[in-house]
């Protein structure tokens, strides 16, 4: 991607020329139409379908990926602490710090820190970033613990935690070993100093994670309909 930047500039320059000439040719109506449609240089995304969960925020944070996500600071989070806060892989983590306003859904209060991450002096820690900032009712799923222990004990044992690695070939990137519903945004959990050390990516700048890392949680072997017909 970083190779031959000079060629990119040529393409951009040609595009600008083309745009300018087309404006002259097509006239003001197009300019108006463009400005009405909001074409002023900002990012325009396709309309989000109705629903609560979906692959809608897969590229959030890519704008900051180049800066602090590449930071060499150590956030101190480990797989052990990551797991201690969840009942099972994919379960919502509990809130490990005090929450001042118990009457709030969370929302912007939580997102102030958990929306973009970074260092929070109050807790002397790098914040984990939420992979689903579109959901504002944080306290629907995440609770602070007010006490330790259990009411009457528990014999629950969770699903095996996903194993790391697992590349099929020496040259192939490891697959994604967990379900990604509500965690479509890889960078939120795998990049930056707030990420868990063992699963932090070395190359957050590559952004399009699923270009190389395939989802591999499907335990069904695909079979041709009709079964094996070859001799």
């Amino acid at each position: 991607m970083n190779r031959k930047p000079e060629r990119r500039y040529i393409v951009i320059a040609l595009s600008i020329l083309l745009m300018a000439s087309s404006i002259v040719v097509v006239g003001e109506s197009l300019v108006e139409a463009l400005s009405e449609s909001g074409e002023k240089g900002e990012i325009i995304r396709p309309p989000v379908p109705s629903g609560l969960v979906g692959e809608i925020s897969g590229f959030e944070y890519s704008d900051v990926a180049q800066s602090y996500l590449k930071s060499s600071a150590e956030g101190g989070r480990t797989l052990t602490s990551f797991r201690a806060r969840r009942a099972y892989e994919g379960g919502p983590p509990m809130i490990p710090h005090k929450v001042d306003d118990d009457r709030s859904l969370g929302g912007e209060n939580c997102l102030t820190c958990h929306g973009k991450g970074g260092f929070v002096p109050k807790f002397n820690a790098y914040t984990p970033v939420t992979p689903h900032p579109n959901l504002k009712n944080c306290r629907q799923c995440h609770n602070p613990g007010r006490t330790g222990g259990t009411f009457r004990g528990s014999t629950f044992e969770p699903i095996a935690w996903p194993s790391l690695g697992g590349s099929v070939l020496p040259t192939s990137p490891p697959p994604i070993p967990h379900k990604i519903k509500m965690r479509e945004n890889c960078l939120a959990c795998h990049a930056g100093p707030g990420a868990v050390e063992e699963i932090r990516t070395t190359h957050p700048e590559r952004i399009n994670c699923r270009q190389c890392h395939a989802l591999s949680t499907d335990d069904e072997i695909w079979k041709r309909p009709g079964g094996d017909r070859l001799p």
Binding site: S50, G51, V53, T78, T80, R83, A87, Y88, E89, G90, G91, P92, D102, R103, S104, L105, L135, K136, N137, R139, Q140, C141, H142, N143, G145, R146, T147, G149, T150, F151, R152, G153, S154, T155, F156, E157, P158, I159, A160, W161, P162, S163, L164, G165, G166, S167, L169, P170, T171, P174, P175, H178, K181, M182, E198, I199, T202, S216, T217, D219
Partner: protein, 787 residues
């Protein structure tokens, strides 16, 4: 699969070190794996990826009436993980903290694994077959000695549909008593009588999809953010995407108030006056949908000064008299906003604001409510009154225009309301109707004379009858009345009297199993096959995924075992392997037809729930509207509406006045007491408290006091205070400015905690029409405890 995984893993391991030298910038995470603390080494060699050996199966959530679709991961005979079912139109892949941790409720260390029988005062373990023998024997003896109306079954909105169906067939068809009730009487009865009196048929005309069409949501005493969190997230989603407005009309400031566009506080009981004031404004401003009202609405008056049911054997029957629009205008003269402002504390401006939202022809409005309106001594009335508002402006039975009654239990609708496990009900219709009795007798294969034509005991009266001694034997399944009954001290003392035999089927020890003579261990939720029906008429099937612990047995099969021991084998002939399917097929005959047709068993197994009426392979999203409902046959040109539940094919607008609560604060007991719930715990907490993360998040109950009241009483946050009412007292920690803030002069206690039994204080007054008690209003004293 395991082979494939093994080769994949072996190949990868062998090659990784070589690869790392070629691609130094890419981490292969070998070191991460070593540090990961994964103890199942052999497992992870064979199964390098999650998913191997794990099966994901669909089920509705065990908890509230929203009915979220879950996918549960089952591995090695145990439930090991949960995700929201993206295919479910209810929750679209999202859950709340209870749903995500629902499977942990199966694994409390003190699960009941065996039956117990009380011998010489002590509960001793016995084989379940012996316990079932004793239950049947005791039932027989009691009937022989005291008659068939001396035995009762008290079930629950957590009963699966087959549980409730078998209980109804046993009590009403086989034994021949109407002593069958369920705890949904305490939470949904006013919703039912509201629907029946206004529309003639139970359950909402709309569905959750209304949320995506509505412009305004008015929440009537409904803390949705904590009680129906996934639906509330759907509301929030519409607020963010489309600018829909949320109005929180409540007596207490909650998370819902904080998230709403407008929070309006009203004085307890004055919702009746507020609803009428909204109608007054709509009428005065000419916002009435004249055409809709002329064609589709009848006006009725009922009785007034109807009492509160505080005395034993209280009787009340409403009677409708004709009214009309002119009569309504006279009636509403008493509810001018300025006058209602004085009564309710809601400003006339806010009343006009709400009226304007309902009245604006350009806005689609959804009203939502649950316990606030239902647990109300005028619960039927306030349900009628909110329907009135929607009827006056014609905003009903079309996408986004929807008065929507929410439920609290997973199958309050599916089981208690649709199967009809209440004293006056049958799976189709009511016991007082001869045709309905004939239908039940025919399907059940019993003589029609078996089914008594008179309702017997509603829930409060059932517990009063136990106290009096009219009732001698009660079998309680899936509910915890020794925590939930109002005026608890009376009913606890009553049930403990000599010669009262109590059987309790449950999954954990509770204050109710504590008083039992026999405890039957139940299979819970996905440890057996069943169906639940949620608030939007959606029936959801779940298969048996797990083996129940020890000798635990499903409530359905417990009932069948006892029925057979009572000599009713012919009526309960089903094989263990297929009994749920066979019960579903038999039950389905009650609802056949366009008004309530149920989906076939095979369809239920396949889909993430199916809404009834299910007609010719299609669900009905909006009832009474011919554009969506094949049962609607409109007779007015250009109008799709047909309120076919009533004989005149009209919805009934009931002129219902404001009447005060039976007990209001005075000098001796100067505070209003309100009870309710918190997001972490469900019902009496007997399941959710066994979930570590939920217990840790909310370890005990508390009393919320307004900060100014606390200051004047000298009470600090966390200090223990004494609450007392004429019926009892409790000592409980104070909560000031935390989860919720009651209005001044009010206190609030969540009722999940068996250590702080707030129902010792509550009043057993009920709505005379629905017989549902009011847990939201009584008078208490609040005292600082001097150390």
């Amino acid at each position: 699969m395991k082979r494939r995984a093994f080769f994949k893993f072996a190949a990868a391991s062998a090659a990784i070190s070589a690869a790392q030298s070629f691609f130094p910038s890419i981490s292969f995470n070998q070191e991460g794996e070593e540090n990961s603390g994964n103890t199942t080494d052999t497992e992870s060699t064979a199964n390098p990826l999650v998913g191997d050996g794990v099966e994901w199966k669909k089920t509705p959530c065990r908890f509230c009436g929203v009915g979220c679709g879950l996918l549960v991961a089952v591995e090695g005979g145990r439930a090991v993980a949960v995700q929201g079912d993206p295919a479910s139109p209810v929750n679209k892949g999202l859950c709340c903290v209870k749903g995500y941790h629902s499977i942990l409720a199966l694994y409390g260390a003190d699960r009941l694994r065996q039956a117990y029988v009380r011998k010489e005062g002590t509960l001793v373990p016995v084989p379940i077959a012996e316990a079932l023998d004793i239950v049947a024997q005791k039932m027989k003896e009691t009937i022989a000695e005291h008659g068939k109306d001396s035995v009762a079954i008290y079930g629950s909105g957590q009963w699966t549909i087959p549980d409730g169906y078998v209980a109804s067939k046993l009590m009403k068809g086989a034994i021949g008593t109407n002593n069958l009730e369920a705890n949904a009487r305490l939470c949904m009865a006013s919703a039912v009588t509201g629907f029946m009196t206004s529309f003639g048929l139970d359950e909402p005309m709309g569905c959750y999809e209304d949320i995506e069409h509505a412009d305004v949501f008015v929440l009537w005493g409904n803390n949705m953010a904590e009680m129906h969190p996934v639906l509330f997230s759907r509301l929030l989603d519409q607020k963010m995407k489309r600018g829909a407005r949320i109005i929180d009309l409540a007596t207490r400031t909650t998370r819902t108030s904080m998230a709403a566009d407008k929070s309006i506080l009203f004085a307890p009981q004055t919702d009746l006056a507020i609803a009428n004031a909204i109608c007054y404004e709509i009428t005065r401003n000419g916002w009435v949908n004249q055409e809709f009202v002329a064609n589709h609405v009848s006006f009725k008056r009922g009785k007034t000064n109807i009492g509160y049911g505080l005395e034993d054997k209280f009787k009340f029957e409403d009677a409708a008299t004709e009214s009309d629009f002119e009569d309504l205008k006279d009636f509403l003269e008493d509810y001018k906003p300025e006058k209602v402002e004085k009564l309710s504390g809601v400003t006339a401006a806010d009343i006009r604001y709400m009226a304007a939202l309902y009245g604006d022809p350009g806005k689609k409005v959804m009203s939502l409510w649950c316990m606030g309106m239902n647990q109300h001594t005028r619960g039927t009335w306030i349900n009628n009154l909110v329907y009135n508002i929607h009827l006056l402006v014609g905003k009903i039975a079309s996408p986004g225009n929807s008065p929507f009654s929410l439920t609290g239990q997973p199958s309050a609708c599916g089981t208690v309301r649709e199967v009809g496990t209440l004293t006056h009900k049958l799976p189709h219709g009511v016991v007082t109707n001869e045709e309905d009795r004939k239908m039940a007798a025919e399907i059940w294969g019993v003589p029609v004379e078996n089914i008594p034509s008179k309702p017997s005991l509603h829930t409060v009266e059932m517990f009063r009858a136990l106290d009096r001694g009219d009732l001698r034997f009660t079998w309680i399944q899936v509910t915890n009345p020794m925590v939930t009954m109002p005026k608890l001290n009376r009913y606890r003392e009553g049930i403990l009297k000599e010669d009262r035999f109590i059987v309790v089927s449950d999954v954990y020890p509770t204050p109710t199993t504590d008083i039992a003579d026999v405890i039957l261990p139940s299979a819970m939720w996905i440890e057996r096959e069943g169906m639940f029906g949620n608030s939007e008429r959606r029936t959801q099937h779940f298969e048996q995924m797990l083996t129940p612990p020890g000798e635990a047995m499903s409530d359905t099969w417990q009932l069948i075992e006892v029925a057979r021991r009572l000599g009713y084998k012919k009526l309960f002939p089903w094989s263990y392997e297929t009994h749920i399917e066979e019960i579903w097929k038999e039950y389905g005959r009650f609802h056949a037809g366009a008004k309530h047709g149920m989906a076939p068993y095979e369809v239920l197994k396949e889909r993430p729930g199916v809404m009834w009426p299910f007609v010719e392979g299609k669900e009905t999203k909006w009832r009474y509207n011919a554009d969506y409902d094949p049962a609607a046959k409109p007779e007015v040109d250009g109008s799709p509406f047909d309120f076919y539940g009533k004989p005149d094919h009209r919805a009934w607008f009931w002129l219902r006045p404001y009447e005060p609560a039976p007990e209001i604060p005075d000098e001796e007991y100067p505070f209003w007491l309100n009870t309710g719930r918190v997001i972490e715990h469900w019902h009496t907490g007997s399941m959710t408290r066994r979930v570590p993360i939920l217990h840790q998040g909310m370890p005990h109950a508390y009393v919320e006091i307004h900060p100014e009241d606390a200051a004047s009483l000298g009470i600090n946050n966390g200090e223990r205070v004494k609450l007392s009412s004429p019926r009892g007292e409790i000592v409980i920690p104070a909560s000031i400015n935390e989860r919720g803030i009651p209005a001044k002069g009010q206190v609030f206690v969540p009722f999940f905690d068996e250590a702080y039994l707030v129902n010792k204080l509550t009043l057993d007054a009920f709505c005379p029409i629905s017989k549902q008690p009011d847990y939201k209003k009584c008078a208490v004293r609040v005292e600082r405890i001097v150390a």
